[in-house]
Amino acid sequence: MTVEYRDVCYRIGDRMILDHLNLRVEEGETLVLLGRSGSGKTTALKMANSLISSTSGTVLVDGKPTTGWDPVRLRRSIGYVIQDVGLFPHYTVQRNVGLVPELEGWPADRIAARTEELLDKVGLDPGLYGPRYPRQLSGGQRQRVGVARALAADPSLLLFDEPFGALDPVTRVELQRQFLELRRTFGKTSLFVTHDVHEALKLGSRIALLSEGRLVQDLPPAEFLKSSHPEARAFLECLN
């Protein structure tokens, strides 16, 4: 699945959150949207699954404008992982992971098999953690479940909004490693929002740098390191 932003603007009152964004996410790549708080990266991300509609311009998913998609169909074919995870507190871990397959009407045994497979893939013992409730898990475990839930119905696109931002540094590195491994296994197109330049360099196949709603750099990690753009330099200085 590809995502394309064509001249996309988003305005709240007279504040420009996104200013004429033009960007294309190619099949199979991991595009990182990097930027400070308020740079518009989360807004751009949420346009891909139609949680936010642009003020002007078009967002195309798989070549079709998001306004032309049935929002429910669009969202079910896109996995979504956010910092606060948002697991259903009244569902067990396995039911949370099986949510989209359940909505899609998969037979119960197939949901069970898929849930088990995914919990295993994200490093959680299905027998041990499957029957638990989210409140019985640590932050890192919850985010692993969040990733499993996003992958459950085999979406063709994954959206990540600072998914590892609230975790301790050790768990964060573990989950980043897991992310790379899952990418090798599943090879899905991903859009990944972060303000952490380490994470961007490590996970992205391309880095799009946003500043005050504008796209100021769009480079692979190796070239991003050599960028002379002042905002890119400001981020790269965090590396030392």
């Binding site: 969202r75 956010i82 959206l159």
Partner: protein, 207 residues
């Protein structure tokens, strides 16, 4: 005990239960959907809650009185009494429905939408199960209050245990007053306990 008192007590108690059940049934049918509606339309929230609040502050005897001259719902008798009891029961249910739905974690709501739940599924799979406890608390509070307030219904010919109380007050007969007041208090306690038990059972985290 005076002859015939027991039979009448039984009859009035059943009558009281019937009066309150009917009023609560309608109050729930009105207040829960209305609460869901105003939890989605924030602009309606303040006026609707303010209106329910005002209803609540009217002294109960006065509200019964106000309703009498109104055509269709008014007049002397049971129907007017039930209408008044419904109006009194609205606020706690309404408020607790709104509070329950609004206290659903924003991240849960956002991820539910992002997983492709329809608005109806969001309501039935997420918002209602997570606010069921709060809503039931509202219903419990309203029920207990209604059982007490319903004793005043006798003043406008609504029947119920208030018949004993008013008759006892008029004839300065303490036994009669107690024959109305004690069963009403026991009913309120029983409702509080029973609905509290259901609340525990239906809580999403009880398992």
């Amino acid at each position: 005990m005076r002859p015939g008192l027991f039979d009448e007590l039984l009859e009035l108690t059943l009558d009281h239960i019937w009066l309150c059940s009917l009023a609560m049934l309608f109050a729930v049918l009105i207040a829960v959907p209305l609460g869901i509606l105003i939890s989605r339309r924030v602009s309606l929230q303040a006026p609707v809650l303010a209106f329910a609040n005002v209803l609540q502050t009217i002294p109960s005897l006065a509200l019964f009185g106000f309703l009498i001259p109104i055509p269709v719902i008014g007049g002397i008798g049971r129907r007017t009494a039930i209408v008044a009891l419904i109006l009194f029961a609205l606020l706690p249910i309404l408020r607790n429905t709104v509070v329950g739905i609004q206290s659903v974690d924003a991240a849960v709501r956002e991820s539910a939408l992002a997983m492709g739940l329809s608005p109806w599924q969001l309501l039935t799979m997420v918002e209602l199960p997570l606010s069921v406890r709060s809503i039931l608390t509202g219903i419990r509070i309203a029920t207990v209050t209604t059982i007490g307030t319903a004793t005043i219904a006798a003043a406008i010919g609504g029947g119920g245990l208030g018949v004993f109380i008013f008759r006892g007050v008029a004839s300065v007969d303490t036994t009669l007053i107690l024959a109305g007041a004690v069963p009403a208090a026991l009913l309120a306690l029983a409702a509080d306990w029973g609905l509290g038990w259901i609340e525990q059972k239906l809580s999403p985290f009880s398992s």
